[in-house]
Symmetry: C2
Subunit: 136 residues, 2 copies
DNA sequence: TACGATTTGACAATGATTCTCACTCTGAGA
DNA sequence: TCTCAGAGTGAGAATCATTGTCAAATCGTA
């Protein structure tokens, strides 16, 4: 019994959004992705950018976090659970892993009887190329 | 030379906001604080609630974090750097400290040449009183 | 009590995100 | 290749937390 599942392929718009994230490297908001696409001549509606980014996030293909002012920013990341070391000046991001932290959070939560534990952890700083050079 | 500095005392509104946070215990948004105050018969403008919460946060007297949908939530906490174990069902919050995590984040950042390092870390889960009792 | 400075709050403005819905595109089937 | 139902798109409206505005209320000091 062949399950009839339409062979969906990413649309032009979806590819454009994903590609833009890939080449950006840093965390970017939906608004800025939309702006960059427009600059690059790509025609993608704002609503579609939002939808695509959400879909990618749900699929675990991009990481999401919130800026200080609550804006959602997305980044194409390596698969698997990890955290980020982000330059608050230029946005350059390094993916980091910390097995010790993972076990620590789970242990702390367990000690207090919490279940279904998740966590968020981000590190912010000023990267080497932004140090000294008061770029801004 | 007596420095003429007015003896500022927290206004009725500011006290009301702070008190509401104290008695709540959990993280609460500006909107919900405003609503609770209104219910309690206190008369405090929404703008004032926002201003007061920001001031308290700037003064380090309350902690702020962002919910998944980007809303800012505040909580009256013990002074000093710490993190939170939050029940995503009832909002009950436990303050936790992890010296090992502190040194880890700083070390990781240093290894990559980042300076002026800060970090955010929150743990989410389901607390004991919300486990089993499928209370929504 | 009078006065300048601070605070307040109703309301407007902002801005990110979501919703609507008519239109377009796609792919399976004929 | 032709058709059609369903998925995807996008312009614009709607939502909603947050911030800005500014005249009126309040406070502290002299
Ligand atoms: Zn990542
Ligand atoms: Zn982790
Ligand atoms: Zn706290
Ligand atoms: Zn810490």
């Amino acid at each position: 019994m062949t399950t009839r599942r339409p062979t969906r392929r990413p649309t032009r718009q979806q590819q454009a959004v994903a590609a833009m994230l890939e080449q950006t490297g840093a965390f970017a908001s939906a608004q800025s992705v939309h702006a960059r696409l427009r600059e690059a001549g790509e025609t993608v509606g704002l609503a579609t950018v939002y939808r695509t980014l959400q879909a990618l996030a749900d699929a675990g293909e991009v990481d999401v976090l919130r800026t200080d002012d609550g804006e959602a920013v997305y980044r194409a990341c390596e698969p698997g659970h990890h955290h980020h070391l982000v330059c608050r000046s230029c946005g350059r991001t390094v993916e980091v892993e910390g097995p010790a932290v993972e076990t620590w959070t789970d242990r702390v939560a367990a000690e207090h009887g919490f279940t279904e534990v998740t966590h968020t952890l981000e590190i912010f700083g000023t990267c080497t190329s932004c140090t000294g050079t008061h770029s801004r």
